[in-house]
Point group: C4
Chain length 212, copies 4
């Protein structure tokens, strides 16, 4: 009986860290939709005018969907890591804080893409957009290698196979986002295309992470 | 004892998916209120002027209430489904992600209705509004048929009766929202009327879903 | 063992309803701070000019603090009720939905007070402000009498004394908010004074509700 | 068995208070990012123009990061306290409410710094910024000494060593934030420097609080 209560108490500790992180992820992912602007055409607007104005906003739809699913896989990835964690320490807490801070920046960099995708500054906007994800990847690495560095933070029953799989996925993820960032200067759609390809690829392959 | 701990651990897994979804639903439903604008009449405004300006905003009150309760029944519906779910997989996760993404769009489409309900573009605004709910219905179907397709995701004790009831409600819901969308081109109030009728009807009949 | 698992499952059901409600309360109470506007004085602004501009915004500080603590006691009140609830039904769910919808309106009515407290329209703004709390009180009554009407929704161990105490507090609360609304037409500060007095009074007397 | 259920019920009580607080912390910390503004340069903007405009916004990046990590350590500090709490009372509830209210003000005071850091009013903006954290410190003290005053609110197993460590940290924190506030009138960067130094110092020393 005593052992049982102890297990529960421990779960509750990282539970609050996860709940707080989920809160930040949930608010940040919902704020992405604030980037969808209602066209202001006044009370005499015709059906055609509104339809055209909505159609002209296509960059915001692309940027919104790309960001939404990219943040979503980041949340899943966060979840995959924390399923292995037994307790946290200062380093973990601040690596997680850095990760959350950068995640709250995604609505800003998304809005930058929306604003400039059809201007000559599109390369710049997409480079900042990709760069945000590079920084988030690095924060994930900081979190992950902090855990591998101090294995006492991991649950005793953490499977070595899962650890290897997550490890491999981080070795692929970061260079891909670097490519997406550098690629912006070739063509801004390289960034958006690569980010989209990444979450679709991820959705179809990384089944292990989702089978919860 | 061991079995007990295992049951708890499993509940916690989908628990975090539900908590994240609840977070997104809660933020999105609260952001609907940002559509209620305070009239800017300056420091010399009289009681009558403010009263009139508030009264003139009636389209925003209608759109706000309709969206609030429609998102609320979507949350209840989401809850009904997840009460049957034992574990998730990649398909479930992304169908759920699509559902959440479209839910965060509701404040945008609500704001579109508010903006254009008294303009000639009202038909367009209401069609987009209804269309958002059609897409949400389809995402619900994707989620639901993904579950029926792989019954191992369902809890062993999921009652066949509840499954049939949810199944029936989806077969009614999607066509009704299609009707609400198409009806906008007849008269924009058809959309608002049908969406209102749907959640009131739902509130009075779908007791099973609410008896938690 | 079986009985234990059943108890947990039931707690989890209303648990998700409470979690969703808490999410809406938490977002709505945080959005109140969006009403605090940074004065836009440009890059040549002096210390004195900014200090003066901040001081001139005192109505927004009063309205913000009054609304924050009023929503806070509403959250505590919501918590007190749900501590007695064992399961929910459609009526409870929609009464709770109405309550949450009206709570999300509080940032709007607070902003109305901020905007017009120093204008001739202050009476109107404060009447709308008080009126929002009257509607919230009525939604609480709907929720509460729905529970008393169907006692099977209450936990078997719900103390009759606690039920009586909550019952008494609702009989006082609603008329007080009606008074605060009507009083606005005498003097807008009657509304703010009464709302402030109510939460301070509540904080000092309703200890039972807080001793969790 | 009975004792086990009782322990769980108690955990759930303060659990909802913590969940609500976490919600407010999560929303407030995410809203900080709304202070990052996308430069509005139109569709003819060049790469250089956008890069320059983004670079010119450096005060908002500094203010954002400082606030994010300061609110983060406040959340950790809140967590450290509530790990010791067994039940709450009215005083605790309102001290916590005051703390949350002041936390929701941080995005406002951060925005004030962003707006005026390069103007002559920077001293004023930074004093208000530091002052917000002084008030938050005082609210933490109110919460903490309320707990020490009524030890029945603390868990029976709360370690005296942890209590002493938290006690010591509050005796350092408040004067440091007072210094950061007063220092603004010497040089506004004293405030930002001290606030940054405080969370970095905290991250490297207060390991006990993070080892969850």
């Amino acid at each position: 009986m005593v052992e049982h209560v102890v297990i529960q108490a421990e779960e509750r500790e990282t539970g609050r860290l996860e709940a707080f992180s989920d809160g930040v992820f949930a608010v940040a992912i919902t704020l992405l939709a604030l980037d969808l602007q209602v066209p202001k055409l006044g009370n005499a607007a015709s059906v055609g005018a509104v339809a055209q104005a909505l159609a002209r906003q296509w960059p915001s739809y692309i940027a919104f969907a790309t960001s939404f699913f990219t943040v979503l896989i980041m949340w899943v990835s966060h979840h995959s890591i924390f399923k292995l964690v037994q307790k946290s320490n200062a380093r973990l807490l601040f690596a997680n804080g850095l990760l959350l801070m950068l995640t709250t920046v995604v609505p800003f960099s998304t809005s930058l893409v929306t604003q400039y995708l059809r201007s000559p500054a599109a390369k710049m906007a997409c480079a900042v957009y990709g760069g945000t994800f590079v920084l988030i990847s690095l924060a994930f690495n900081l979190l992950w290698y902090g855990l591998l560095h101090d294995r006492t933070l991991l649950r005793a029953d953490a499977s070595e196979e899962v650890i290897q799989r997550i490890d491999r996925s981080y070795r692929v993820g970061t260079p891909m986002y670097v490519l997406a960032t550098v690629g912006a200067f070739l063509n801004p759609y390289v960034t958006i295309g690569l980010c989209t390809a990444l979450w679709i690829f991820w959705a179809f392959t990384a089944r292990g992470e989702c089978e919860q």
